[in-house]
């Protein structure tokens, strides 16, 4: 493969065509891009770009980020090396170059596979198990399912995945769903602020509501007017929970109202088990002194004796 790469040469910037759309699988964060720009500004171009001839045009295969930065900095000439080998060996070379700069994130693995298969016309089964291992995947062809799915995501979602904004469990749930359902959820949750567990809950509820009703997720979101919550992920989550578990939500709400109406003294709380399972309630007393505890116990006893706790019967047994 070494013979397929020519000597370093200097070419006019205008003679080069960008090839990022076809060859680049690098997903750099804004901070990494800024650091690259700074480095080029201070030290100039230290590494030649790898270029290939595509339909007569000299196209940048490796170094699209640097090419963009050098263009922005107004460079007139750019150092390159020409690659003249086969398409498969080009993609091996591109992977070598990327790995020499560190590992690939999951989004980059996904993009590499997607773009390589599109360019070389190989099928996933034809890829060697050694290549899968170099990509950090288990050495079996089934391991390609996830990255190929991720590689098919639209750019904002691909970046969310690559930079760890999508929880792994959530992605697993989405990958088992139809692609249009997964994309509908991902679009609806763009920009929402939710922790991993809550985002998983949103994904799960949206899918299960749609499956229950035998419709697509997009149709569900439109029917329930759940498409436009902006960054308010919590409201979206609550709305979906109510839709998925109407009776449970009703119980949760009525429990909140009923306990509030007991007007218990400070430090005294009543709670239920998850899902009201077991038909038991818990009452807790926080107390700074024994007298405080004694007073509150008396208040609670009086309320029970006076029938104030009748509303709690529903949740017991």
């Amino acid at each position: 493969m070494a013979n397929a790469v020519g000597e370093i040469e200097r070419v006019e910037r205008g003679a080069l065509a960008p090839g990022g759309g076809r060859y680049s699988f690098s997903l750099k964060s804004p901070g990494e891009r800024d650091a690259l720009n700074d480095s080029l500004k201070r030290q100039g171009q230290l590494t030649p770009l790898l270029v290939v001839e595509d339909d007569g045009a000299l196209t940048v295969a490796a170094g699209s980020g640097r090419f963009a930065a050098l263009t922005m900095l107004g460079a007139e000439y750019i150092w390159v090396r020409r690659f003249t080998g086969s398409r498969k060996s080009l993609w091996e070379r591109l992977l070598d170059e990327q790995l020499s700069g560190g590992g690939l994130n999951p989004g980059e693995v996904a993009l590499y596979l997607k773009k390589r298969l599109a360019d070389t016309k190989e099928t996933a089964d034809e890829l060697s198990l050694g290549l899968l291992e170099r990509l950090g995947l288990p050495a079996r062809h089934g391991a390609l399912d996830d990255p190929l799915w991720i590689g098919g995501l639209e750019p904002p979602e691909l970046f969310r995945y690559a930079f760890g904004e999508l929880p792994i469990k959530g992605v697993r749930l989405l990958m088992k769903a139809k692609k249009e359902d997964a994309l509908a959820i991902l679009r609806a949750t763009r920009g929402v602020r939710l922790g991993a567990n809550k985002l998983n809950e949103v994904i799960k509820c949206a899918l299960e509501c749609a499956w229950r009703d035998g419709i697509g997720v997009q149709e569900l979101l439109e029917r329930e007017k759940l498409g436009r919550f902006g960054e308010d992920g919590e409201t979206l989550r609550m709305a979906l929970l109510k839709l998925r578990y109407p009776t449970v939500s009703e119980w949760e709400e009525s429990f909140g109202v009923d306990t509030e109406s007991l007007k218990l003294p400070g430090g005294v709380n009543i709670s239920h088990t998850p899902g009201f399972e077991g038909g038991k309630l818990r009452i807790t007393f926080a107390f700074p002194s024994l007298k405080y505890l004694d007073d509150n116990l008396k208040i609670v006893r009086d309320k029970i004796a006076g029938g104030d706790f009748a509303s709690m019967e529903k949740y017991l047994g």
Binding site: L173, D181, W211, G275, G279, G317
Partner: protein
Amino acid sequence: MSAKLIPASVVVDRKVWEAPFTLSLLGRLPKNVPITIREEGEAKPKGKRTLFITHEPGSFLKACPCSPGVVECGYHVFTLGFQCPYACSYCFLRFYAPDEPLTLYANLDDAARQFKDAAKGWSQPIRIGTGEFTDSLALDHLTNHSAYLAELVRPYPNILMEVKTKSDNVEALLGADPPENLIAAWSVNPPGFIGSDEGGTATLAERLHAAGRYAKAGRRVAFHFDPVVMVEGWQDEYLAVIERIFESVAPEAVAWISVGTLRFPKRFIEEWGGKLCGNPLFFDEFLPSPDGKLRYFWPRRREIYRFFAAKVKEIGGIGVPLYLCMESAEMYSSALGWPVEEGAVENFLTGMARGPLLPYD
């Protein structure tokens, strides 16, 4: 009577090719079913239309794999085969063993030896069943397991052997002169649900007709409402089933009735959810129980159990033992008013404890 099941093909392990069970089964098989011998080291066949006859190197008899935190009923499982020929939408085998062939173990002498060894240690009554990992009677016209079991348990009247089925395949069983401790049990559900979600099984009418025949022969039967599903109008639907049971068999012939609501592991929905799209049954309000399984919301489950306890008592009388399958002590107490202690359900069902332990006296 429903059609008798015939496998599409049979694969026999070389090791059991000449076992009496194998020869006997192959002798009952229609001539047009292809038979293949599997040599040692060859891949195991896949798919439930293939009957795979093999050797069980391990234990045939085990305590029923209950669930953590639920009340145990003292049941034991005697596993003569694995995988079910039917296609019930809710079956745990779909989740745990989707590609397993219909497996039958040919070394029944080993099974009998293990059974007899265990029986020596059981002086008290005990319940054992063969229908945990397969349907006990669906292939009985080929396996003749019923005759084998009849002879096996005949000398042990304290052992209540239960064959559990969704078929009406009782010819071989009735022909085996079953002892009184060989109990035939049917899983039952409303006819509409059987039609939609229990593919390939006998209809409710066929099952109850078979149960009636077994009861008429002076033997005891059992029924399992498991899983109970909250289909629309479930009270009316299940009430009709309870009524039909007691129209088909006398209450005295009923050894026990179990009730268990639909439940499944969390991963079931993650794995199968998309494929079950449009079947609201699986997307009801299920919540995780302490054992990690998803079950109906507590108050709704409690309502189901109270309903069954009341209706079985009303129609069948208090002499019909009813118990809950895979439920907590809290649920026993709350739904049945029965604060169960360890061993109470087992003693109740084997007839060792009556009266004070009857939950709905």
